[in-house]
């Protein structure tokens, strides 16, 4: 082997080929399937993703509700919470937002910002004590 460089090159090439085949088999088809899925999920006709960002002055259990969607809620008291809803872009549903503060909390604030494609559509701040509940209306994008 030592005296035949051509044989050395062939051996290294065969090794690389043996290592590369499984890697190629695992990865070669995935991007195509993933792209198709992503395109379908990202842009169904007439549907937009609305992102709701809730921020509070102290930790609270936060939840957001919209018609035809399951309730999104934080599992523990937090100061920031984000929920995403896919809704008709021409008639987005209004959102009910709730913040439940702990017994030690005083007067608190809850801020809601609604965005689609990074654009701010609605922003509202509510004040209250113990529990803040209110409605955020989303204008058409």
């Amino acid at each position: 082997m030592r005296g035949f460089p051509l044989l050395q090159i062939l051996s290294v090439g065969a090794g690389l080929l043996l290592l590369g085949v499984p890697v190629w088999m695992l990865t070669s088809h995935r991007p195509v399937v993933s792209d198709a899925g992503a395109i379908r999920l990202a842009s169904p006709p007439g549907i937009a993703v609305f992102s709701v960002q809730l921020t509070t002055t102290s930790p609270a259990l936060l939840s957001v509700m919209a018609a035809n969607h399951p309730t999104c809620e934080s599992v523990e008291p937090v100061q920031q919470f984000e929920a995403r809803f896919e809704m008709p872009s021409t008639q987005p549903e209004d959102l009910a937002i709730i913040a439940r503060f702990g017994p030690e909390a005083g007067p608190e604030a809850l801020r809601a910002e609604v965005r689609t494609d990074g654009r701010l559509l609605a922003e509202k701040t509510f004040w209250g004590e113990g529990e803040i509940q209110d409605v955020v209306e989303i204008p058409m994008p």
């Binding site: 509700m65 018609a67 008639q91 549903e93 209004d94 409605v135």
Partner: protein, 298 residues
């Protein structure tokens, strides 16, 4: 300190009320009667001339009712044409010293569907809708109207009426928020109310519903078969899920529409005033109506 003085004033006026005769109030409207009871408390005695279970669109005062009205200090009415006989009786009552308080005088009226539909079955708007209490903001205005009337009639109870009206107003603000939070659960495309008659225009305007009534504002005429056919077409087009009867209605026409459209019958609403049981107060009536609507359309 101010709170202490206020409490003393309320306690004193409550004690005075126990000694004095309560103001006699007669009411032609069950909602107005409930609001007056909330604001007037023990300083007033409210008599329902038209009580829950009586159809106010069909009611005419009997001689016995006249006597009770004429001997009252104050008469409450919804107004805006809800009591068609009110204009006839008002001058003689005012001459007799009865203060007439009409809720419709302090609200911003909207128009509803008139009785005579066109040949094509389309609804015409332009007639004033007298069912103002289905808007909580209207009711809040009427609460303060009643407070002012009670103070004018019984100035000694001023602090008492003011405290009661403020407390009731806070409850109405909370009720309004509760309604808005409930209505969010109904998809916007499903916010269509098919009802016996056109009594929920204020609720529709305030909370984003469309109303498709079988009859107009006063129930004075029955819909033609052509009008019913048009309504059935609209219900199918809009894919309406549920149809609401009213507590004082003959449900036959609605049953026919329900059968032909496949929409479900979603229970009764109190449209012309407060109801019975848990719906026997204004707050109870609103909660019953909104709960029934949300349950059926969400």
């Amino acid at each position: 300190m101010l709170r202490f003085v206020l409490i003393i004033a309320v306690v004193l006026s409550s004690a005075t009320a126990l000694l004095a005769q309560p103001l006699k109030i007669a009411s032609l409207n069950t909602v107005m009667a409930d609001l007056a009871s909330e604001v007037g408390g023990e300083r007033v005695e409210v008599a329902d001339i038209v009580h829950a279970g009586v159809d106010p669109h069909l009611y005419e005062p009997a001689p016995g009712d006249w006597k009770r009205i004429e001997t009252a200090d104050m008469l409450l009415a919804g107004g805006l044409g809800f009591e068609a006989y009110l204009d006839r009786m008002r001058p003689s009552l005012e001459n007799a010293g009865v203060r007439v308080v009409v809720g419709g005088d302090v609200i911003r009226p909207i128009s509803g569907v008139c009785e005579n539909h066109s040949k094509e079955g389309h609804h015409h708007h332009g007639v004033i809708d007298p069912h103002w209490w289905h808007s909580i903001s209207n009711t809040r205005a009427v609460v303060f109207q009643i407070r002012d009337a009670l103070i004018a009639e019984d100035p000694e109870g001023k602090a008492f009426y003011e405290v009661n009206a403020e407390a009731f107003d806070r409850r109405l603000v909370a009720l309004d928020k509760w309604v808005r939070l409930q209505v969010v659960l109904i998809p916007k495309a499903s916010r269509v109310l098919v009802t016996s008659h056109d009594a929920l225009g204020y609720l529709a305007s305030e909370y984003g519903f469309e109303v498709l009534p079988v009859q107009g504002l006063t129930k004075s005429s029955q819909p033609s078969s052509q009008q019913i056919a048009q309504l059935i077409r609209e219900i199918k087009e809009k894919r309406v899920k549920a149809i609401f009867a009213e507590s004082l209605e003959n449900p036959k026409v609605l049953e026919q529409i329900t059968a032909e459209t496949g929409a479900c019958s979603a229970g009764s609403l109190y449209a012309d005033g407060v109801g019975v049981g848990v719906a026997s107060t204004y707050e109870g009536m609103m909660k019953h109506n909104i709960g029934t609507i949300v349950e059926a359309l969400k």
